[in-house]
């Protein structure tokens, strides 16, 4: 009986002392929070709350919080979060009581669809990453301008919007938030930002002559100039065997697409994959 009482006493003492410590620590914390409180613009927090929180850095500052700070400080409505898009810009403007600035939605586009349609010389046996290949200049892709297909952009994409299909990177334009991560990570700068609503683009970067391109790629731009002639809006710029579409002038009329024999000009909405499937069928028929 006596032992039991002692036991209870011990527990009581322990509980009491722990409670005491907890109380003291609580008081200390309370005053610490008061004394060391950081002055913060409530607007920053409000903006941060509506930001996507991806911390991707696409806006040009290190993270969402910094972006919120910058917006709150400069009150510049042209600061743009590509991930949030126009909707977010409107919300931010509402929040700050300012006029929203219209922004174009951009998407990343891979300016190459070579992959399995282009030849490879040599066999690369090293670290499987694009930056690894380009650091040591051990390209096995015969085309000196094309996508290697080792997928650095796939790993850099936070939004699962880019994949290696048929040996070449392909952007899912619905998922793409134009955060620029893949553009930065691509060591050969084959990914470009283009307006989402201009759906036609020329997926090739090769400035080699037509004969040279034909040797190593089935879908490369040979510089035949047919598209330049077909375009009624003078929207195709041509320089050193490579045609490029000027988005501002393009009207999505798709005249050039039908004229392109090598299927280098593609309509993104149709899906590049479809065109590729067509090509694969053609190739099988030829065989």
């Amino acid at each position: 009986m006596n032992e039991l009482v002692n036991g209870w006493q011990e527990i009581a003492i322990t509980a009491a002392s722990l409670a005491g410590i907890a109380f003291l620590a609580g008081v200390a914390l309370y005053y610490a929070a008061k004394v060391f409180a950081v002055e913060e613009d409530p607007m920053v927090e409000a903006i941060e709350d509506i930001l996507p929180g991806a911390n991707c850095g696409a806006c040009g500052v290190p993270g969402c919080f910094s972006f919120a700070e910058k917006v709150a400080k400069t009150k510049d409505m042209s600061l743009y979060c590509p991930v949030g898009g126009q909707e977010l810009s409107d919300d931010m403007a509402d929040l700050m009581g300012l006029e929203a600035v219209e922004q174009d939605k951009l998407v990343a586009r891979v300016m190459c669809q070579g992959g399995n349609f282009s030849t490879r010389t040599g066999q690369y046996q090293g670290i499987k990453s694009c930056s690894a290949v380009s650091t040591i200049h051990q390209y096995d892709l015969t085309c000196p301008y094309g996508c290697f297909g080792y997928g650095d952009c796939v790993t850099s994409c936070d939004f699962d919007a880019i994949h290696i299909i048929n040996g070449v990177a392909l952007v899912d334009e619905e998922k793409c938030t134009a955060c620029d991560a893949c553009v930065i990570d691509c060591p050969i700068n084959i990914i470009e930002m283009q307006p989402y609503d201009k759906t036609v683009f020329i997926a090739c970067k090769s400035i080699d002559s037509g004969g040279a391109v034909k040797k190593y790629c089935e879908v490369g731009c040979t510089g035949c100039k047919k598209c330049v002639k077909a375009c009624e809006h003078e929207a195709i710029h041509f320089d050193s065997f490579l045609a490029t579409i000027i988005p501002d002038k393009c009207t999505n009329c798709n005249d050039c697409v039908d004229k392109c024999d090598t299927h280098t000009i593609v309509i993104s909405k149709d899906g590049i994959a479809q065109i590729k499937d067509k090509l694969v069928e053609n190739a099988e028929v030829n065989v």
Binding site: G60, V61, P62, T121, G122, Q125, G126, I127, S129, S131, A132, T135, I136, H137, Q138, Y139, D140, P144, I184, I207, D208, S209, A212
Partner: protein, 454 residues
């Protein structure tokens, strides 16, 4: 004799120099077509000054230096420029390349002008004139780094260079071109040394040769005392890779350590490769620009040896004509431009010899063993052997994690490949570190842009 070597790390890969060691330097015939890259050096690439279908003859300038850190490119042959196009070089870069159809007879005729030795009194010629001759000859470092020579000879005025080191270490396995050149052109190299002595005012000259080339050490010692060159001595070095690295060689011979991020002239040393010095000799005494170079073709070829090859000669021609082709074409797995430790494997034999091509090594399936990267077993061997005192395993891991903050050390890496060589699980450490340099630069640029933003 006291054999010195560098302090940290180092490895002893099998030398395999026996294939081509002691083989006399032979000329390789002029091919029917050469392709000359306009970027054969570090710095701005040369600007083409010839046009399509233009006739050129040996020694004509094809590309003009673009700025100070750049070098001239001369025509090694006489013929007609067929086309100017973008082509992959032996260094793996896509560069503008001139293809020239060669007039073989005219080339032989025109080359004769470089066989007449001019009477040049080095003591009477001014420093500026000598430097001009070197610059006009388009000489770049022939050891592989291809840094324009005239830039190296013009250090900033506040840096005083007092020691010239002649790099005859040739620590790369397989290669013997420098060795053979030292044996055959001893006096010529010593004359070249005198030119450099005069141009950069050095007090002391060391000729660094590894002890696996005893004949070269002996020959140089003899010729130095015979010709009576002042302040010039041979330093025999313990055989260890990478002795031929600039920083390692300076450390081995003078005991000085080039501080991290600095250049050899910061410790008052100038290092020049043997081949480069020989090119200087030819430029000064024959007025000959860099139109050929001595290169080892070795490995899995029928007749390995050392060859004098015209710039722009395709590898395939050099291997066929000089080395008698591969022993068994089916078994060739890799052809390396340069030595097997630091060279670059090429994807096709149509690339051409450049100023920096110190060797062409063909590796058979026996020598070239591919193995997948395994996990690190933390044995620490890469740390033990790193000649720069780095921790390759940490740098590789930080590269994989894109940890820019930790990658400052990667900038000190000389990319000698010792770490990858010793790794028991075949990790491609030096490759990761090379990538790490890029990661570090990107991170640094980003940091700086954030700083300027705020």
């Amino acid at each position: 004799m006291l054999k010195s070597t560098f302090n940290l790390g180092g490895i002893h890969p099998p030398e395999n120099k026996k294939y081509s060691e002691g083989k006399e330097i032979r000329n390789i015939s002029v091919p029917e077509q050469v392709s000359i890259n306009l970027n054969q050096h570090i710095g701005r690439k040369a600007k083409a000054v010839v046009e399509k279908k233009q006739e050129v003859s040996v020694g004509d300038i094809l590309g003009e230096a673009d700025g100070f850190i750049s070098a001239l490119v001369h025509s090694p042959v006489s013929g007609t420029v067929k086309k100017i196009e973008q082509k992959m070089t032996a260094a793996g870069m896509v560069e503008s390349t001139l293809t020239i159809d060669v007039d073989v007879e005219k080339t032989a005729e025109d080359s004769k002008k470089y066989e007449m030795k001019k009477e040049v009194d080095i003591d009477q010629t001014s420093k500026e004139d000598l430097l001009k001759m070197i610059q006009d000859a388009g000489i770049v470092g022939q050891g592989g780094a291809t840094f324009p020579m005239h830039v190296k000879l013009s250090p900033p005025p506040d840096k005083q260079v007092d020691i010239l080191i002649l790099n005859g270490a040739e620590c790369e396995p397989y290669l013997t071109a420098d060795h053979q050149l030292m044996l055959e052109k001893t006096d010529e190299i010593l004359l070249g040394v005198r030119v450099i002595q005069k141009v950069s005012n050095v007090k002391q000259v060391h000729i660094g040769i590894e002890e696996n080339k005893p004949d070269a050490i002996k020959l140089f010692t003899e010729r130095i005392s015979a010709t009576g060159i002042q302040n010039c001595q041979v330093s025999a070095l313990k055989t260890k890779y990478p002795q031929g690295g600039e920083k390692q060689l300076i450390n081995a011979i003078t005991g000085r350590e080039v501080p991290s991020g600095k250049l050899p002239f910061d410790v008052g040393v100038l290092v020049q490769n043997v081949g480069t010095i020989f090119a200087v000799y030819e430029a000064v005494f024959y007025g000959k620009p860099v139109i050929d170079r001595v290169t080892t073709i070795t490995g899995f070829v029928k007749k390995p040896g050392n060859f004098r090859i015209r710039m722009g000669t395709a590898f395939s021609h050099a291997i066929e004509d000089g080395a008698g082709g591969f022993i068994d074409e089916e078994r060739v797995r890799s052809v390396v431009n340069g030595g097997p430790m630091m060279g670059k494997s090429i994807r096709q034999l149509d690339v051409s010899v450049m100023k920096g091509t110190s060797g062409i090594v063909a590796l058979s399936d026996h020598e070239f063993v591919f193995s997948e990267e395994g996990p690190c077993i933390r044995c620490g061997r890469c740390i033990d052997i790193c000649p720069m005192g780095l921790m390759p395993v940490n740098l590789a891991d930080d590269t994989i994690l894109k940890n820019g903050t930790e990658l400052l050390d990667s900038m000190d890496c000389i990319e000698c490949g010792s770490c990858s060589y010793v790794c028991p699980t075949s990790r491609k450490l030096v490759h990761w570190i090379k990538i790490g340099k890029g990661v570090y630069r990107t991170w640094k640029a980003k940091e700086e842009s954030y700083k300027t933003d705020q």
